[in-house]
Assembly symmetry: C2
């Protein structure tokens, strides 16, 4: 292992140069005028993987190619792990807000600035450098590794989902390692072990057949906007609890261990309040803001629409009113069931004076791997050793849909070992990737494989 670590230290400057080369390629998956660049990026990646000793292939899909790269075949059966990443990046707009051009990587203050630096080229590149160290120093890698780097993460990963099903046999594995999440600070390396799910719907209440003059008709006909407000208002109580019968029944509870661990997270409630710019925080009573935003289910109105929205006033009873609603879900809550419970409650709350229409939106299950499991524990060890700080365990409030696919199609759990810092500006101008995170990430990866293989 020492020769692997020495190699990683010795070649830091070259690794940074190579990362800059990779970042120079504008692989914007959402913009078709960048399709050539996206293909060129896949080619560059494939060649790079081959150069460091991996067996790499580019797989064409209906849209952007997928690059796979495996450690050389050897005799005997070893544990097999996937490393997932994506070489596509978000559009760089608005360009005028970048201090240096998005596709001219610049190193300053210990970070590389470029679109895709942290999301996700820098993060999976760290893992490539770790495997390079094993291969180039002739060190024994006690497991087989397959990198799966897609080009459609920023546009929905449609091709990858098909690819997983097609290559299900080749991709059977003992775990998927993903560095595409974050850590609270460089002193808080993190394992993310849980993600929230989601269910969405749109509710419309319809009253009169057209907007009515509020002077001539108002008072004798219900107001759909007020009806909608009254229905939605009844979905949450004063203690911040969702008032939908059955909503919390299956929701996984936080363990004492998790709540203890959460207390170690930086960012106090006061700091968090200032960050969001709100007068006061508000959430389900009995939980901290860290718990509320990651480990508790929610119901949010994402949008409201009714009647006249222009300047001044228009004295109407609007014909209809609608709201977009999403619920964030925690492990064991079934998106379909919650959707059903919510619809049942809305129907119950709807008065006879209006017609109710509900349109279903997307849904995704929550994801959870117990942080006390053996893989999670060795991942925490690797983080501790590489970063020199006691790692934290994180739940994330959002979803990473592909993680559910790894579980569903391959039956594999994912270890989310994210290297992004809170101020990395992912999806924003001046995206960066901290070089300590890069090099410590590579070390963490190198330390991880022997530990994982030994379980």
């Amino acid at each position: 292992m020492q020769s692997v670590l020495d190699y990683l230290t010795a070649h830091r400057a070259r690794f940074e140069e190579e990362l800059c080369e990779y970042l120079r390629l504008p692989s914007v998956s959402a913009q078709t005028d960048h399709d050539c660049d996206t293909r060129a990026t896949a080619d560059w990646l494939m060649k790079h993987c081959r150069a460091i000793g991996l067996k790499a292939r580019k797989h064409t899909t209906d849209f952007h190619p997928i690059v796979t790269a495996s450690t050389p075949k050897r005799a005997g059966r070893r544990p097999h792990f996937l490393v997932y990443g994506h070489y596509d990046v978000q559009p760089p707009d608005p360009l005028e807000e970048w201090d240096t051009p998005p596709f001219e990587p610049t190193i300053r203050k210990g970070a590389v600035y470029a679109r895709g630096a942290t999301d996700n080229k820098g993060q999976h590149f760290a893992h490539l450098k770790a495997v390079e160290a094993f291969l180039q120093t002739g060190s024994e890698l006690p497991c087989d590794l397959t990198f799966v780097i897609e080009g459609e993460e920023e546009v929905g990963s449609e091709s990858l989902v098909k690819f997983l099903r097609q290559k299900k046999k080749d991709l059977q594995c003992d775990a998927v390692v993903v560095s595409d999440t974050g850590m609270p600070s460089k002193k808080h390396p993190a394992l993310t072990y849980s993600l929230r799910g989601v269910t969405a719907l749109e509710v419309t209440v319809r009253g009169p057949k057209a907007d009515l003059h509020s002077g001539i008709y108002g008072g004798s006909v219900d107001n759909p906007a007020l009806v909608l407000c009254q229905m939605l208002a009844a979905l949450r109580d004063k203690r911040g609890r969702i008032a939908v019968p059955g909503f919390y029944d299956r929701a996984q509870k936080l363990t004492r261990y998790e709540r203890e661990q959460m207390k170690r997270l930086p960012i106090s409630a006061a700091q968090y309040r200032r960050l969001l710019g709100v007068k006061a925080l508000f959430g389900e009573m009995g939980y901290t803001h860290h718990e509320q935003r990651s480990a508790r289910p929610t119901l949010e109105i994402n949008g409201l629409t009714s009647g006249y929205q222009g300047e001044g006033s228009k004295t109407i009873v609007p014909a209809w009113a609608s709201a977009k609603i999403t619920c964030r879900l925690v492990p064991n809550q079934d998106p379909c069931e919650i959707n059903r419970l919510l619809k049942r409650q809305l129907k119950k709350l709807c008065p006879p004076s209006v017609k109710l229409e509900i349109e279903d939106g997307h849904g995704a299950e929550a994801y959870h791997v117990p942080p006390t499991g053996p893989q999670a524990q060795v991942a925490l060890e690797a983080l501790r050793e590489a970063f020199g700080h006691e790692p934290v365990i994180l739940r994330e409030g959002g979803s990473i849909p592909i993680i559910n696919e790894f579980k569903k199609v391959l039956g594999a759990d994912s270890l989310l070992l994210g290297l992004a810092l809170p101020d990395d500006n992912l999806h924003s101008p001046n995206e960066k990737f901290d070089l300590d995170c890069f090099h410590n990430g590579a070390e963490m990866s190198a330390r991880l494989w022997p530990k994982l293989a030994a379980i």
Copy 2:
């Protein structure tokens, strides 16, 4: 009086031709490319008034001219009445929905079809024909009359309000007669004796400084759209009562006489429900739909805006949410006081997690002249004699701001003797004016003056 009535009968065909000539002038006050037409209409009207024996003048204003026309000065003091009307009309769009062009008046099925036919050229022209009958037959008119016909009713009557103040002395009068409202049917000639007032405001609640990712932050920060819904929901109870303390304190109650009279109105609740196209009617309990829409105050949400309103879903906690609100008010409710009560209640309902902003809109007082008063009673007599049916008394749900100005500036009550039928399409394509309403309206006007003068 008989010679006056005979004159009206004898000249019906000519009156209709003259009305068509008047309607041919496209006096669209809102459109500056019609400014020439608007001036030409004022000129035509002034000349016509002179031709029938009135002393007419055109008064230039900052915008469209006002035409006044008075009965010739005679020795002795007589009661003085104003007749108010407006020669300007709504824009005719959408043109393609007219069966015959809006400014080519056409008579079919006993009605004249043209923009402005019922709103308001036809209605005040009926009054002009009545006075013509007196003047041309040499019949004694027992009062002095001044017609005040403005050209800005459809754009806010700004010049007329100034004019009333300037000419306050000349315009002192015993009542203003206005035919610019409606009657439920030709068998239900009507006196409108009460109009609702209005107060408007816009409420905005602000949460985080920008829209937040509902996955990353949702649950730990309040949702401004949900807060707004909860605040607005609390403004009305299940019985349809406005839940703002003090809201009803000063509201004038319906008398037993009024409620008895309201029962005579045509249009059953079932017919009304079908007309509006709602599943079920809803209003304040204990009142009929006629009472709810005209004699009871209301609180309406006219518009709701928050977050994402496009296609599909966007998983955000919106930064803010806003609602446009208007209250219709009944006599004795002060718009400023109700506005203040409403703001106080909104502030009370607002939780500490959001910032509340309230912007005041327009306001207008309700209008009321007891239908049992002597002027109202003789107006009902004139209606009964001219239409051959027992008249009804109406409250209207909307406001006619100029009526409040007549009261405020001149101290004069208005008698609202509207000649429009419910299907006259005012402000819509295929506007019409029923010729029976026109001729009976002229007779009603002729019968009215001796009765009013005799009080």
